[in-house]
């Protein structure tokens, strides 16, 4: 008897709607940065989060990284209200790719910290540069067992 374990897990894990509500509740935190997310934004980001989990063959069991990304990157000097939701969506995608590529060697916070550092100090708020040049360099470092140092980049 073959049971699809991944499917069983997904059928019980917190629904996108719950994540969307959690995202909306972050408005209380990000409003100090003159940022906010609408209901549609929250649903979109929850959907992106779910899609990224599936595409990267991952299983969600705890607090979504999307919430941490929103709270962290709200402080970025390169983010404004006009492109906030879209940028966060791109960052969520980059996060899960990095997490999978790093073979879970880095914690959620470590990946987000590194992403924020690169975003602010190296890629100048450019998502493509962040995803390609900067994160790839980091992953290469991890895979080769080299010590990662922010100064090298």
């Amino acid at each position: 008897m073959n049971f699809d374990i991944a499917n069983l897990i997904q059928s019980s894990s917190p629904a996108s709607l719950r994540l969307a509500n959690q995202i909306l509740s972050l408005n209380a935190v990000i409003e100090r940065y003159a940022l906010s997310l609408s209901e549609a934004d929250a649903k979109m980001l929850a959907s992106v989060d779910r899609d990224c989990i599936n595409e990267n063959d991952r299983i969600q069991f705890g607090k979504s990284a999307a919430l941490k990304i929103i709270a962290r990157f709200a402080k970025s000097s390169y983010i404004s209200q006009s492109d906030f939701a879209e940028t966060i969506a791109g960052l969520i995608e980059i996060f899960y790719e990095a997490k999978e590529e790093s073979l879970d060697d880095m914690t959620d916070d470590e990946v987000i910290d590194v992403m924020f550092y690169f975003f602010e100090n190296k890629s100048g708020g450019d998502l493509e540069l962040l995803a390609t040049r900067d994160m790839e360099a980091l992953i290469r470092c991890l895979r080769n067992g080299e010590a990662y140092s922010e100064e090298d980049y």
Binding site: F3, A6, I9, D57, I59, G62, S64, E100, L103, D109
Partner: protein, 322 residues
């Protein structure tokens, strides 16, 4: 497992012991023995236990894991349920527990049982090891000298209770290991329990005789490199019993073989079984437990069947000592 009444909705339940809880849930859902809301409660409850295990696994520093690890942790969580529900030794009771008991309680009871079984397994292995045989049989030496340590190294009561972590490929008497349907530490428990019976049985005989028997069997070409040693010993021992000897003897000469071949002619299989059961009975007190005795008592019909069908074959049903 306990018997189920004919008209019970569990009468046609075919359990999958590799994932007992899921197979029981699936059957109960199909037969509508469980409401949808209760079904969702159970699955949510299993997820909560899985999520807590995953949190601990990631030291509460990640909210997701790779699919491979997630599935392993989830099946590990499920195994806690399996262990408890299987311990009830009744599909009906297992179903009743699933339907009525909170999932966190089932999980906790399974967790405690896993700890007990794990401790028991160490004791069972030590008992088997006490009577271990001296042999060049590679797979036997692996299960006695290395496999249990490898299992303990890779096993984790919390994260990987279902992991075997090694192979236990030494074949047991009558291929018993293929009848052990349960996985993980439950398999280890059964396997080493049976191996303990076999080692104890072989300790009835002189150690050198067992070694010589094995060597003679290899020479006769009847023994594959990793064949079961207890079977060799049981065969020769039973041959001696059929010859009317009352001691625990392994040695069989060519004259013995010829004498027995003659006396077996015209004998029904049932007569051979009866004769063996009667002559084996006095040895019951020489075993540490009834179960050890019964393990070999239950082999008698198979031995009689092979003897009747294939006759006396050197290196197989009997090994002639040089």
């Amino acid at each position: 497992m306990g018997s189920i009444q004919k008209n019970s909705p569990l009468a046609d339940f075919i359990p999958d012991y590799s994932c007992y809880t899921l197979s029981l849930i699936w059957h109960c859902a199909l037969k509508e023995m469980i409401s949808e809301s209760r079904l969702q409660q159970i699955m949510d409850g299993i997820f909560i236990e899985f999520a807590e295990i995953a949190e601990q696994y990631t030291k509460r520093e990640s909210g997701s894991v790779s699919k491979e690890i997630g599935e392993r942790l989830y099946t590990g969580a499920l195994f806690h349920f399996d262990v408890y529900l299987l311990s009830l030794d009744s599909h009906v009771k297992a179903m009743q527990e699933l339907v009525s008991r909170p999932t966190w309680e089932i999980f906790e009871l399974g967790r405690k049982l896993i700890e007990i079984i794990d401790r028991d397994n160490c004791r069972i292995f030590k008992a088997a090891y006490k009577n271990r045989l001296e042999t060049i049989n590679r797979s036997y030496r692996h299960v006695m000298d290395k496999a249990f340590d490898l299992h303990r190294k890779h096993y984790s009561a919390r994260f990987a209770p279902k992991e075997l972590g090694t192979d236990l490929s030494y074949p047991l008497l009558n291929n018993r290991q293929s009848e052990i349907a349960v996985p993980g530490i439950l398999f280890v428990r059964s396997y080493y329990t049976y191996l303990g019976y076999e080692n104890e049985f072989c300790s009835l005989f002189d150690r050198e005789d067992v070694k010589n028997l094995e060597a003679a069997a290899r020479k006769a070409g009847g023994m594959f490199f990793d064949a079961n040693i207890a079977r060799l010993a049981a065969n020769n021992f039973f041959i001696n019993l059929l010859l009317g000897r009352k001691e625990a003897i392994l040695a069989v000469t060519e004259e013995d073989r010829d004498e027995l071949s003659e006396s077996l002619k015209g004998l029904y299989g049932a007569s051979i079984i009866y004769a063996l059961e009667k002559s084996f009975a006095p040895f019951k007190d020489r075993f540490s437990s009834e179960k050890t005795y019964r393990y070999f008592f239950d082999y008698i019909p198979e031995f009689a069947r092979i003897l009747k069908r294939y006759g006396i074959r050197n290196g197989d049903t009997v090994t002639v000592f040089p």
